[in-house]
Amino acid sequence: MNILFLGTTGIHHTLIAAHLYLGKPEPNNYRDIQFWGDRSSEALGYPIFLDNDEQSNGVYSLGVGRDVLMAAKSIKQLVEILNCTERDLMIKPVFIKRERILLFLHRIGRVKIVHYLVIPIIAYLIKNELTGICEQVEELKSQFRFT
């Protein structure tokens, strides 16, 4: 099975959620996490492979822009069309309260100089939302316990 963490961007809160899910310790500096703020990987639009979990499930992070639920709906339907099930791909949308601010910061970060200024602000923003992200990860883990 594969697990896809879905969010407005795939290189910030979604990446942190996947990182926590994989049971990796929270680093002091988010820059130590592979793909953190990596705009070139995000720009490709493809899911970013992070690692395999304890059950050898592939864990991915994907940024889909403003409409996360719409993308989640399309992906779920695509999986069905391709004759696969939730056992092949599990989708976990990850949300934070300040989605719009994050997306705005991410967008203005297209300018390279701004990008370097924006990254610590995003890190601060996500540190404040960490409890919520952890809850969503726990929710996913508990889903596994029941299935």
Partner: protein
């Protein structure tokens, strides 16, 4: 093989392309307004249809054709869908086609007026006129896609 045509609302260009692919429309001359309105989903979608992959039919080679409205997500959506297909190991069974680069201003304005503003009486004539104008472009896109699908079939047969 599954072929997904996608555009902003999944109501005009993608639906017309899918209809062309499935032989519902004659490729040699632009369709009339009545012919366009006979196509399933043409100018008939609502906001809840965004993100829904809707089945349009199966072509003569057994390829299933679908349409999708993805708002302003552009080509990124093709990458997202292809990426997901790759994760489940089915990337060779999927072609995703963005119809937005074949859409003219009349289709954009007419489509917005008819679907978003719900002013059907005003928007529909503009969007159908625009579709007729963009028809040759859509035929071209569909022919490219059909060739891609055929090339894939030959590859599968060869292996």
């Amino acid at each position: 093989m599954k072929i997904i045509y996608h555009c902003f609302g999944g109501a005009h260009s993608s639906v017309t392309a899918a209809a062309l692919h499935l032989g519902m429309l004659n490729k040699t001359r632009p369709p009339t307004k009545e012919q366009l309105m006979e196509i399933p989903y043409y100018d008939k979608t609502s906001d809840v249809d965004f993100g829904s992959i809707r089945y349009m039919g199966t072509d003569e080679f057994g390829h299933e054709v679908y349409v999708l409205g993805k708002k302003s997500m552009g080509n990124r959506y093709s990458a997202i869908l292809m990426g997901v297909a790759e994760i489940v190991g089915k990337q060779d069974q999927l072609i995703v086609v963005n119809c937005m680069d074949r859409v003219n201003w009349s289709m954009k304005i007419g489509g917005f007026t008819s679907r978003r503003m719900r002013l059907v009486l005003l928007g529909r004539p503009v969007v159908t006129w625009g579709t007729q104008k963009a028809f040759s472009q859509l035929v071209n896109l569909v022919e490219i896609t059909r060739l891609k699908a055929m090339r894939h079939d030959f590859k599968v047969q060869a292996t």
